[in-house]
């Protein structure tokens, strides 16, 4: 882990932070947004809002480093994320529209394998515990093919519990989840923020977070 | 000078088909390719103009 360097103003940040400056997103020939800047510190959560096609997913993919902004820069702890590469990815957890859940693998295998691929292998007990916590008790050894959309979503979300990452980037995490699962997920995010984590998320539904550090960002 | 007469030149010592087949194909392609490239540009230009005109028209309509 890198400790942040003293800034020019003399303030020393003890926790890493995510900083986006002057971002521009171009899709095709259209500029979706430009001049977008924000800063996210430990314990804070950013809710990205906007209509369909306003660039929410594009922004989230930029924050992960999957897409390059047409202009501007994203820094983690003062360093451009392009330069940090794997070091940044080790702090990051991205959950996109596609859940990366394999039909032919069981829920348990899915959870363990995705953790291993992310570079954070977990043992079976931890994986079972996480699946239970998300309400998949008794379904751990069923192939994902037979699970419902909501249950598959929960399998994908076990990564939140299994991978110890500081920055969560969640694209529509509530899709297909029922009320109970939404409440569980909110609890998980709250706990993450309370422990000094950060989150950037999009949601069409209301996300009843208890955290006081929730900022809104509208893309229009 | 290699050739006694024009017909000797075109006969190419019996290899007329091969020599002129090569040079002919070369000349043909080298004429066609630039024409196609130019056509591509003029096509892009006409499309652009049409688009600009359409934009202006719609602006005129919205600002009476």
């Amino acid at each position: 882990m890198i400790l942040s360097k003293p800034r020019s103003v003399g303030v020393v940040h003890n926790c890493p932070m995510l900083e986006a400056s002057n971002l521009e997103c171009v899709r095709g020939e259209k500029s979706l947004f430009r001049g977008l800047s924000f800063r996210l510190e430990a314990g804070a959560c950013l809710m990205v809002q906007g209509a369909n096609g306003s660039g929410k997913t594009s922004l989230l993919r930029m924050l992960c480093g999957l897409a390059q902004p047409a202009q501007g820069e994203i820094r983690w702890d003062g360093e451009p994320i392009r330069k940090l590469a794997e070091e940044y990815r080790g702090e990051l957890l991205y959950c996109g529209h596609a859940g990366a859940v394999k039909d032919d693998l069981t829920a348990l295998e899915n959870a363990r394998i995705s953790a291993t691929l992310a570079g954070a292998p977990v043992d079976e007990a931890a994986a079972r515990q996480a699946l239970r916590q998300l309400g998949l008790k008794g379904r751990e050894d069923l192939p994902a093919r037979v699970l419902s959309a909501g249950q598959r979503r929960r399998v994908a979300l076990t990564r939140l519990l299994l991978e110890k990452r500081r920055l969560w980037v969640l694209d529509e995490p509530l899709t297909a989840l029922d009320k109970a699962a939404v409440a569980t997920l909110c609890g998980v995010i709250d706990a993450h923020l309370a422990a000094g984590g950060m989150a950037v998320l999009t949601s069409h539904q209301d996300l009843p977070l208890a955290a006081t550090h929730v900022a809104q960002l509208r893309l229009d | 000078m290699n050739w006694g007469s024009a017909s000797e030149f075109f006969a190419m010592g019996g290899h007329a088909l091969y020599v002129w087949g090569s040079y002919g194909a070369c000349a043909l392609l080298m004429v066609v390719e630039p024409i196609l490239a130019r056509k591509r540009r003029s096509q892009a230009l006409t499309e652009l103009k049409r688009e600009i005109r359409a934009n202006q028209d719609s602006q005129d309509e919205t600002t009476p």
């Binding site: 095709g28 020939e29 | 000078m1 290699n2 050739w3 030149f9 190419m12 010592g13 019996g14 290899h15 088909l17 091969y18 020599v19 087949g21 090569s22 040079y23 194909a25 070369c26 392609l29 080298m30 390719e33 630039p34 490239a37 130019r38 591509r40 540009r41 096509q43 892009a44 230009l45 499309e47 652009l48 103009k49 688009e51 600009i52």
Partner: protein, 261 residues
């Protein structure tokens, strides 16, 4: 060098660097290319006429191959250019991939069809030369075979780029392919050569005729220059079309003379 001088020097370097990237912007390059094209056409015509004159009227009849050998004055330049253009294309592609400059990708895209044309001409003229010399339209000669594979590589590059809708992705994917191709071309060439010698294939080569005279070399050189200038002229014409297609919504395009009128 003193500190001060060093600073000044660095400052000068910086401005020069900015100028370079200024030329690399499509907005400045578009009119510049338009001004350069007629000159390259003129040079191509000049070298072409000189080359044809040397090829047909100065170079003597070949003792072995008769007049048929005069095909080399386009066969060899076309082969040279087909390989050279691939290298140039890979260079632009690498530049575009490394520095993310828009123009480099467009240059690579615009060079590919001309390169494919040169490879095709080399194959066509090779076949027409082969018929009277070997008695067959096609022989698996090392040079012709690797030229055929080079032609396939060009076709693959063009097909890949036209299959991808997003021009930025098309540029980058094409760049990776061009670079992989550039690493492979020498390997392919030497494998084909080895294969050819093992199978005792055609050993009479168009360019290795014993009576290769100085004048023939001059003729080939002049024709190669003509082809080179032609390739530059036509690819500049095409790159202008590509710029217009891609930069359609940039402000500078709408202010162009040919658009405004």
């Amino acid at each position: 060098m003193g500190n001060n001088g060093g600073f000044e020097n660095r400052f000068g370097m910086n401005t020069r660097l900015i100028n370079w990237f200024g030329y690399a912007s499509p907005a400045t390059f578009y009119p510049l290319a338009g001004k350069m094209i007629p000159w390259f056409w003129a040079l191509a015509a000049l070298f072409g006429i000189a080359g044809l004159y040397v090829g047909f009227f100065v170079a003597p009849t070949d003792a072995q191959q008769g007049e048929g050998y005069r095909i080399i004055f386009i066969h060899v330049p076309a082969s040279w250019m087909s390989m050279f253009i691939y290298l140039v294309m890979a260079f632009w592609a690498a530049l575009g991939l490394g520095f993310n400059t828009r123009l480099s990708g467009m240059m690579a895209t615009s060079l590919a069809p001309t390169g494919a044309l040169m490879a095709f001409l080399s194959l066509w003229t090779g076949a027409l030369w082969g018929k009277p010399m070997w008695g067959a339209w096609w022989v698996w000669d090392a040079r012709l075979t690797s030229e055929l594979i080079l032609f396939f590589l060009y076709i693959g590059f063009i097909a890949l780029q036209s299959a991808i809708d997003d021009p930025r992705r098309a540029d980058k994917a094409g760049a990776v392919l061009a670079l992989v191709g550039v690493v492979n071309i020498p390997i392919i060439y030497f494998s084909v050569k080895w294969w050819n010698t093992l199978h005792q294939g055609a050993s009479v080569s168009l360019t290795r005729s014993p009576s290769m005279a100085q004048t023939m070399l001059w003729g080939m050189l002049l024709m190669a220059l003509a082809f080179w200038m032609y390739a530059i002229a036509v690819s500049l014409t095409r790159v202008r079309a590509i710029i217009l297609e891609r930069e359609r919504h940039a402000g500078w395009v709408e202010e162009l003379e040919e658009v405004a009128t």
